[in-house]
Amino acid sequence: MKTAKLQAYSVERRAYSQKLSAIRYPLNAKILRLLICSFAFFILHFNCYAQSISSTELINNAKQYDGKTVVYEGEVIGDIMVRGDYAWINVNDGQNAIGIWTDKDLTKDILYTGSHKFKGDWIEVTGVFHRACLEHGGDLDIHAQAVRKVRPGRQIIERLNISKRNLVFVLLGVLCLVWILKQLKLR
């Protein structure tokens, strides 16, 4: 009798604990998920910024991003300045240009650099941001780990501005007229 009672109790107890764990399990899962998310957020927020960050954001909050891996996008402008196995490129996102210190090989895909006659290649740089890089005399720069070409640059074909050309001729006529009048007056 006693054994039967004990068995019934243990069954009841098991059922209760199963019920309880059924209730608890989603809670644990939620906590676990929350922990994973928090950890991922912590990692991304404090060490890496997956989305591209603007130059203004980087310059204005340089201390916050110092030493962190960032993603920065922009147009390559000016010269690719090769220094040994590395190279300096300057990348302008439309607000400011930031210097990128990169492995020379990572610049091989860059065909166009921005100038008056060219629209430079638009690239995405992943690298470590420095507020005042000790390796480069305190420059605010990014040491690239990866460079990806987002869209290619192109040559800007300059067309003659007809209205400017016409204005040149009109003003030339006026200038000749004034000069003739001046000569007449002087005589």
Binding site: I59, I77, D79, G99, H116, N161, V168, K185
Partner: protein, 511 residues
Amino acid sequence: MILKPRLEDIKIIGYYLGKIILGLGLTMLIPIIIGLAFGEINPVLDFLIGIEIALIFGLILIKLCFTPPLRAGAGFTERDLNWMQGMIVVSLSWLAATVLGAIPLYLSGHWKSYLDACFDAMSGFATTGLVLVQDLDHLSYTHNLWRHLIMFIGGQGIVIVALSFFVRGVSGSFKMYVGEARDEKILPNVIHTARFIWLVSVVYLILGTFALGTVGVLNGMKPINAFFHGACVFMAAFDTGGFAPQSQNILYYHSLPFEIITIIIMLLGAINFKMHYHLWMGNRREIFKNIETKTLFITIVITFCITAFGLTQIGSYPKAIVLFRKGFYQLISGHTGTGFMTIYARQFINEWNQLALVGVICAMAFGGAVCSTTGAIKMLRIGIIFKALLEDIKRIIMPENAVVIQKLHPIKEIFLEDKQVRSALLITLAYLVLYGLGAIIGMLFGYPFLNSLFESTSAAANVGLSCGITDVNMPATLKFTYIFQMWAGRLEFMSIFTLIGFLVAVIKGRR
């Protein structure tokens, strides 16, 4: 009683103004040649429009203001300029140069408004270096050259350009020379002095371009870009201007040798042209005796100590080389009135503390030597005021019947006189008022005190360092304020005061 100016005065002013505008217009031929060489069609059209408008205005002024001689002698427009006329010609020439020089800039489409183009033109002519240009990295070679050329022209003096090349035999030229804040004749004749200044500048231009271009090539730039940048950066450095061909200014080059060469050129630009003459003549001792170079050395040391102490307090730049390339570079750039930057404008506010900023503001306010291309109070005046202070202290300490004299050595040994002290103090006071005025106007628009003072001092002392206030979106009133400050600061007030007096006389004067 104020007398209304005579028609004769207005005609003489208009006649010489017309001649100077003609000269200025002809300088646009240089970017046109460069534009043709680089095959930049539309930029060349911008300059053709600019040169034509300048020539039309110049010719109309000459035509309207020329008076033919009644008898065998010259008409009154060919006569000697008096002080008032000379000063007004100078002040109006700078305004005309700004308005006309801004035309090709505005036509390029890189400036949002004509006011912005005028701002950059005045900043260039006055060798300031504050910019409102948009998308500078895509600007043509033609326009970029013009931006730097106007610094070269403004640094030597717009009237000096006209005196040297376009205006011959003007006996009143000394008055215009003085009107451009140059009161020392290096050689007995003003035209010869102007030409010597050009000779010095052109020789340094060749050497500086070669040095910077070579470093550029070694740094990995394309040779054509390296030498073009070399020429532009030289013009901006020697004339203590501060423009650069790229939006990052000197930070673009990421190069210590480039920065060292620009420091040397900036210092050469901050030295009196008379000193250059002595150095050219082999008199190297002069550099150690001269009051201006001694004062410059002392003020650089003092202001750098303040700045370095401030930067060390917050640990912005922990290594000595970093402190040199960021702290010392901005300081020397500010002290010489150049305005080259190796940091971003916002970094001054975000990463420098107030003490470091005060050090740079003081350096900007002091400036370089007289008869150089720098703005601000200048070393000779600081030296004179300091000597006068020493003299007064000696008078108090020494017996009453003792004769106290103070000597100073600006090129030659002279006794300090009250007249010199008064003049130095007046100009110093005028500068301090100008710095303060701009700061107050900045604060009226909601900018903090130190930021406003920094930007105002930079504009009035023709420096060009910016803490971020100078921006295309800043209020138009502030743009006008800075334009006025750059103009008044470059001409050292006398020409401006004369022009204001002339305008008052036109309105209120009696016949």
